[in-house]
């Protein structure tokens, strides 16, 4: 999405940097999406990568950032909520 707005600015040229036109606002707005918890692009990359390499039940022992996919509500029955369901 940031790529699309970047490409739009590149396509329209220097004038699209001006605040009198809406494109620069869209460019700034578009940056915010990938930062938003719980689906930041980094966390989603972690999900994709760790689940490509390991099964759900193996990821507790997988190396990497424990704040990402490994220890999440999303895991439900496979994760720490196992005990309550």
């Amino acid at each position: 999405m940031l790529e699309i707005t970047s490409m739009a600015i590149r396509t329209c040229g220097g004038q699209s940097m001006l605040k009198s036109l809406p494109l620069e606002r869209m460019f700034r707005d578009s940056r915010c999406g990938a930062l938003m918890l719980p689906y930041t692009s980094e966390i989603m990359e972690d999900y994709l990568s760790v689940l490509s390499l390991y099964d759900m039940d193996e990821i507790d022992n997988a190396p990497g950032d424990e704040g990402g996919a490994r220890n999440s509500l999303w895991r439900g029955a496979s994760g720490q909520l196992r005990s309550v369901r």
Binding site: R31, P38, G68, L73, R75
Partner: protein, 368 residues
């Protein structure tokens, strides 16, 4: 500007949904887009846009029909969010906070893994909030972030303790979109018990009225983008909530995300819409449809108003538009037959992926 027919198969969209999408496009073009700059400049909340959305009844889009809402499915609601975002991203993103709050209560109730007892306890709680949202035209927000912590990985740091007749909540929410502008906050927190570490499975969900004692909105709001969301800090100090303002009975919240992880995907339509808006602008700009009054002074002064004027390569001003005032596309096409990209009616992603003007006709474009 694109229309929904440019990117959706209309045979798959219910007529009443198409009507709402069409109405959003009218509101967007006439109201949201003209207001967007001031909202962004001042980092103010799009209050007037909300008035317009409420007047149309759109605050009830995801509320079930039996409680006076529209009963839109998640996908149908997502399309509405994307249309709003074509005109004002901040309106769409905050509108999602409200609709997502309603949608949680709507869809989580239908999860297959709820016990009959849980369902029986849930039913009156959600009905209370649905009816309140419709009757008061109330805006709900759902601040969840607490700053620097992924709340799906660790228990929420905002905590509640059981007291007589309800709970007391203490904590802090970061990036509380709509802070100071919504009527109710849905607060996610961890219920704590004496002599026990806070646990993820004790996550609770409450509805807190904006005037509830102990609730304060603090901090500045001057961010890079999505400036109209007004996502300031929300501080909760001994905030009392009554038992009937619990939004989900004990034990249900933990079951929601494993069964409905796509609930959070309601944030995505906003960004799809912003991207579509950027694309639409680009097409309009290249076709010379952006009025001269909205360009820089230098651009307006360029003596290129005649159709035969040649564009200067390397100029920061669009080679296609040459700083001319708004030109109707048909006339534009007649006069400029040599420019291949002008002849394309490229207003949709579908068409774009086949033949984006900047890919298919770079030579023609540079020579126009």
């Amino acid at each position: 500007m694109s229309t929904i027919a440019d990117y959706y198969d209309l045979s798959r969209i219910r007529p009443e949904v198409q009507d709402v999408l069409a109405r959003i496009n009218v509101l967007g073009a006439e109201k949201f887009a003209p207001r967007a700059k001031a909202i962004d400049d001042e980092a103010s909340f799009p209050v007037e846009n909300y008035r317009d959305l409420a007047a149309e009844g759109f605050l009830g889009l995801t509320i079930p029909e039996e409680f006076g809402g529209w009963g839109f499915s998640l996908g149908e609601y997502a399309m509405v969010g994307a249309e709003i975002a074509k005109y004002c991203g901040a309106t769409a993103l905050t509108f999602n906070m409200h609709n997502s709050s309603m949608a949680w209560s709507r869809f989580m109730f239908d999860m297959p893994n709820l016990t009959p007892e849980e369902k029986a306890a849930f039913a009156p709680l959600r009905e209370r909030q649905f009816r309140r949202a419709i009757a008061e035209r109330a805006i709900y927000s759902q601040p969840i972030s607490e700053g620097g912590q992924n709340w799906t990985s660790k228990p929420n740091q905002t905590q509640c303790r059981k007291v007589d007749g309800g709970w007391k909540i203490n904590g802090f929410k970061k990036f509380a979109s709509l802070a100071g502008y919504c009527d109710y906050y849905t607060i996610v927190c961890t219920e704590v018990f004496e002599g026990q570490e806070p646990r993820h499975e004790d996550t609770m969900l409450f509805v807190v009225h904006k005037d509830n004692p102990g609730l304060t909105v603090k901090g500045d709001w001057d961010p890079l983008g999505m400036r109209g969301t007004n996502s300031r800090d929300l501080i909760l100090k001994d905030v009392f909530v009554a038992e009937e303002d619990l939004l989900m009975p004990r034990g249900i919240f933990g079951k929601t995300l494993p069964n409905f992880p796509h609930m959070m995907a309601t944030l995505s339509p906003t960004y799809m819409g912003v991207a579509q808006g950027a694309f639409d602008f680009t097409v309009d700009y290249l076709k010379g449809r952006i009025p001269a009054s909205r360009r820089s002074t230098a651009a307006c002064m360029r003596p290129s108003a005649s159709p035969s004027a040649k564009c200067t390569p390397g100029s920061p001003i669009s080679a296609h538009s040459g700083g001319r005032p708004s030109v109707r596309p048909r006339a534009c096409r007649r006069r400029r037959r040599s420019c291949a990209c002008m002849r394309r009616s490229t207003t949709s992603w579908k068409a774009c992926s086949k033949s984006p003007p900047w890919r298919s006709a770079p030579v023609a474009a540079s020579r126009c």
